[in-house]
Symmetry: C2
Subunit: 136 residues, 2 copies
DNA sequence: CACTTGACTTGGAGTCACTCCAGCCCGGTA
DNA sequence: TACCGGGCTGGAGTGACTCCAAGTCAAGTG
């Protein structure tokens, strides 16, 4: 459908990357990228005449964002919702912003968990250290 | 074997808890506690005459530690190794300390991920915010 | 020109760490 | 007596990958 508009994407091939390059640039493995596409997290990845995926710079930016969201614990369901909003264009910007704000709240929580765990570890490590001293 | 020493554990029943209490105190679900026991993460949980598990305060402390380790991303395999060391007594204290140190290094790494993600989010949120302004 | 190499394709099986559930037993209450 | 809550076991299901077999295609080599 897009390809009916003559020349619209015709000469962007210089920018288009295959999956391995998309993988190194986004941080996601090739398997994960394919999996995300199947799961509806990546809208409209084009294919070259050889049938291979071609990723635009915008695709890469999107994948990179997904990489960070997933790495910091956003569940797939929420990423799917985020992707649906992304697909629907600028009218969803406010919703997307809210979704990211919610995630940054989650990050705050996770950081608190890390800090609390660090305390527990410090306590344990000190206790072990003391016992080691007593043993020798 | 321990029970051959008369009275050694005989009157500790006032302290012993059932699984639901162990769950609220440790933070792990009852299902997870049973799963951890099956997987060899929890050494020697005793049973009452009714066949139900009885958790000692030491059990609870151990489960709580597992809770924090798992919550902050220590893999099962490593927890199993940690549990094996714990079972083998004080001679393994130095190894246990090293294992926890390694984990706290992992925490450092995770925190860096959170911070990096926060930057990405802040950037995106600001960009969205600007677009919202332009739209209205 | 045949052959090999290597990057890519798909569909499907396997993995990790739970989580949920069916079907059972048991002690206490109305 | 009938029921209820809480525990038990073994096993199936889930989320998010991860790995693999079997195939296609393009480019490079003898």
């Amino acid at each position: 459908m897009e390809s009916l508009q003559p020349g619209r994407f015709a000469l962007k091939n210089g920018e288009a990357m295959k999956i391995s390059e998309a993988s190194t640039k986004s941080g996601l493995s090739a398997d994960t990228i394919r999996y995300y596409e199947k799961s509806g997290l990546v809208p409209a990845v084009e294919r070259g005449p050889d049938g291979l995926r071609r990723f635009s710079p915008e695709n890469i930016e999107w994948l990179t964002l997904l990489y960070w969201l997933r790495k910091t614990g956003m569940p797939m369901k929420e990423m799917q919702r985020f992707a649906a909003l992304y697909r629907d264009g600028e009218v969803t910007i406010a919703d997307r912003r809210k979704l990211l704000l919610k995630h940054s709240e989650r990050l705050r929580q996770r950081r608190m968990d890390l800090d609390r765990c660090n305390e527990v570890l410090a306590y344990k490590i000190a206790a072990y250290y003391k016992i080691e001293g007593d043993l020798s």
